[in-house]
């Protein structure tokens, strides 16, 4: 299994499978999603937020950022002016256009299920 920043190619089938279940965007939007996926991986967003932006747990992790309520403007502001542990990204290393692409990539992710719809989570109190 090949994962991480450098071997991005190893993730492409996985991400393609994940995005295939979401609504198919038009061609130009699909390009943005593709560019966003590359920017997301190359910029290391995956390290704290997971390979599809769904977030992590524990120290030095980031929240779920593939949520509808995070607009492109919000995402840009957070990337430029993060709070707490998140490293700030200058325009030199991540342009506004790339952030827009990342937002497209995150928006294309399948919506998460409710815990009540997952038997293993719904069973116990």
């Amino acid at each position: 299994m090949t994962l991480g920043i450098r071997p991005i190619a190893g993730l492409l089938p996985v991400l393609a499978l994940a995005t295939a279940t979401a609504a198919q965007p038009p061609a130009s939007a699909a390009d943005a999603v593709s560019r966003g996926k590359a920017a997301f991986m190359n910029s290391g967003c995956w390290a704290c937020h997971g390979y599809t932006g769904r977030g992590g747990i524990g120290p030095m992790t980031g929240p779920d950022i593939a949520r509808d309520e995070i607009t492109q403007d919000t995402l840009t502001f957070i990337v430029r002016h993060p709070i707490k542990l998140m490293p700030a990204y200058s325009e030199k290393v991540l342009s506004d256009a790339q952030i827009a692409d990342i937002h497209s990539f995150l928006a294309a992710q399948p919506r998460s299920r409710s815990a009540s719809d997952i038997p293993l989570l719904a069973r116990d109190k």
Binding site: A88, S112, I118
Partner: protein, 643 residues
């Protein structure tokens, strides 16, 4: 003693007598060479004084000093010895396996001294008694040092015995010189509690008994006895043994808080509107949990369990650990039980340029601390953390203090406060229900992802062990462990084994093995969520698991590297405005990817993987658990989301 007289023979010979008199014997003079100064007085006729000296080397002895050492150690109730072999303790090892019958204690073969110590560390956390660790002189102690520091920082007793060749006259050349040292414990003295290097067997008996007493006295910590090779290997004659005495082991009771301070703390807590209890390394024994439940219920106060130990059942509505930030910010009284970092509990330092820090608690909030941190503090290593003031500070064991704190708090609550306290409890029940929903909602977010989301992994395992008496062992660092601690009912003292102490990497797998041995003896199932980077420090521990048939399910959280260090590097790269596309250099384990299943199989452990599809988990977990339930180790390599 290979080419000269043995020490005892030497002592019996004229050489020793001559030396004692300050007179060189012919043999000694010859050994010193031509430049040796001849005595002023004529040499006496030693042959005439002592009679014929038999210098024919003896080939066997009936009983050695190491046999007596085994007798001493067998009297200490120690069940296991963890060791990688080393010639500086060859005499004692032989006595253990033959004279001692390799039972009570039983020898556990380890492939690295770091593994030996971490196994003892993990074992103590479940068994609540020490596992003996044998260490080769110098190099073995050096190998063990990081694991010793972990145990020290975690305040866990580890009793170590190390060999050494103290007498330059009897060391074999050249290796025994390389493995001998004037002061064997010097490199670990900064992070051990006590050490000694006995000069006689009587001295050994007293020091070995003292070692167990000191190590287990609260606060617990590692200790080491260095045993001379000659002391182990020389003959023990009946008339000498008749004089030896083994002292009785008496264990210390832990210190309670001063009663005046306990009553003052009780008054503050009874009057508080928003009290919060923080339990850090509070629980030493299973009795600690019901005591803290009783105390928290008296106050109807939320408890934050930091997970360095299992302190408070997660199924109890007063366990509000996930709400730590907001609760501490609003608290008017905070009670910290065995805090490892009181400053960090009440402050926040941001890892940004300038490292600004601020208090995170409300102005006027009273802080009460009960802990043993100041009872074992040394200067060099900074495990004592940043200084923080407390309004009431008790140098005492909080578990031992809890009964008197309960009594004092009951007495301090006036009837007029009971209604408000009851209302607080009702509100906390609602908060608890909301907290549980939030945890499940967070777990659902990445449920269907491939590579596997750690919350999904934790719950797939839970689904198959919910009917077992189980224990989550190893390190708390692996992300599925973090999820399991939130999603599983962590209600028993042994539900998980807590932190490593000093966050020294390489702890997880061997500590899990040690804990699994204790769980095996208690008829309990052991589960270890294992970080991949940590695994790579001491993979040989898997061979120990297979060889000794230690039932343990190890589930790799394979995220391809030292992920936290990757994030640190990303932080630096962005701070320097250079982009982070090269931060994989030196932080990831790709090219080649590590095949953990094949590593395990190569050491005789059942293994499957890599598994990236969560749909494959149920059957793979079932197959692995079947192996573990038969009494053997198994490993699943699960490729996961990074955190």
């Amino acid at each position: 003693m290979s080419n000269m007289l043995g020490r005892r023979e030497f002592l019996k010979s004229g050489a020793a007598i001559g030396g004692a008199l300050g007179i060189a014997s012919p043999a000694a003079a010859a050994a010193q060479g031509s430049e040796a100064k001849q005595p002023a007085l004529p040499a006496p006729d030693l042959h005439a004084e002592t009679g014929p000296v038999d210098t024919t080397p003896r080939t066997t002895i009936a009983r050695s000093g190491s046999d007596f050492m085994v007798d001493v150690i067998k009297g200490l109730g120690i069940t296991y010895i963890a060791a990688n072999p080393g010639s500086t303790f060859r005499g004692l090892q032989e006595s253990f396996i033959n004279y001692g019958g390799n039972t009570a204690p039983e020898w556990l073969t380890c492939c690295h001294e770091e593994t030996s110590v971490a196994m003892a560390h993990g074992y103590y956390k479940i068994a609540a008694k020490p596992m003996l660790v044998m260490l080769h002189g110098t190099v073995g102690v050096q190998h063990a040092s990081m694991a010793i520091y972990n145990a020290y920082a975690d305040r866990v007793p580890v009793v170590m015995v190390s060999g050494n060749g103290a007498d330059a006259n009897t060391r074999r050349v050249p290796v025994e010189w390389l493995h001998s040292v004037q002061d064997n414990a010097s490199i670990i003295r900064d992070f051990t509690k006590w050490d000694d290097a006995p000069a006689s067997l009587q001295h050994f008996a007293e020091s070995q008994v003292r070692a167990v007493k000191v190590a287990t006295a609260v606060p617990g910590a590692p200790v080491m006895i260095t045993i001379d090779m000659d002391l182990q290997e020389d003959e023990l004659e009946p008339h000498e043994e008749a004089k030896l005495r083994v002292p009785r082991l008496t264990l210390d009771r832990p210190p309670q808080g001063e009663i005046g301070a306990v009553r003052e703390a009780a008054r503050l807590l009874a009057a508080a509107e928003r009290p919060v209890i923080v339990a850090d390394r509070y629980a030493r024994t299973p009795a600690a949990l019901p005591l803290l439940v009783e105390f928290a219920e008296i106050l109807q106060a939320p408890v934050i369990d930091t997970a360095t130990r299992v302190n408070f059942p997660s199924s109890h509505y007063l366990n509000q650990s996930r709400r730590a930030g907001e609760l501490l910010a609003e608290a008017d009284v905070i009670l910290a039980l065995e805090p490892t970092d009181l400053w960090g509990l009440t402050h926040r330092l941001l890892d940004i340029i300038g490292k600004p820090w601020t208090s995170t608690i409300a102005q006027g909030c009273k802080v009460i601390s009960i802990g043993t941190g100041d009872l074992l503090i040394k200067a060099n290593y900074q495990d004592f953390q940043r200084y923080a003031a407390a309004d009431i500070a008790m140098s005492a064991d909080p578990e031992a203090t809890m009964p008197s704190l309960i009594e004092a708090t009951r007495a301090a609550i006036p009837a007029s406060r009971r209604s408000a306290i009851g209302a607080r409890g009702r509100a906390l029940r609602g908060d608890y229900a909301d907290m549980r929903k939030a945890i499940k909602a967070a777990a659902a977010v990445g449920w269907d992802l491939s590579p596997v989301h750690p919350a999904r992994l934790a719950m797939e395992v839970w689904d198959q062990i919910r009917g077992d008496d189980w224990s989550m062992v190893g390190s708390t660092v692996a992300t599925p462990n973090t999820w399991a601690r939130q999603l599983w009912p962590i209600d028993k003292f042994y539900s998980h084994t807590g932190s490593s102490g000093a966050a020294g990497v390489g702890y997880g797998l061997p500590a899990a093995l040690g804990a699994a041995i204790a769980n095996r003896d208690a008829g309990r199932l052991s589960i270890n969520f294992q970080s991949d980077g940590d695994f790579m420090y001491a993979p040989g521990a898997l061979w120990t698991a297979a060889h000794h048939k230690i039932p343990l399910l190890t589930i790799m959280h394979n995220n391809g590297g030292y992920h936290q260090e990757l994030m640190h590097l990303q932080l630096m790269a962005n701070r320097h405005d250079r982009g982070i596309d090269r931060t994989h250099i030196g932080t990831t384990l790709h090219g080649p990817d590590v095949d953990y299943a094949r590593i395990a199989q190569g050491m005789g452990v059942y293994a499957e993987g890599p598994i990236s599809d969560p749909g494959q988990l149920p059957e793979a977990i079932a197959r692995a658990l079947a192996v573990v339930r038969k009494g053997e180790p198994a490993l699943l390599d699960v490729v996961g989301q990074p955190r």
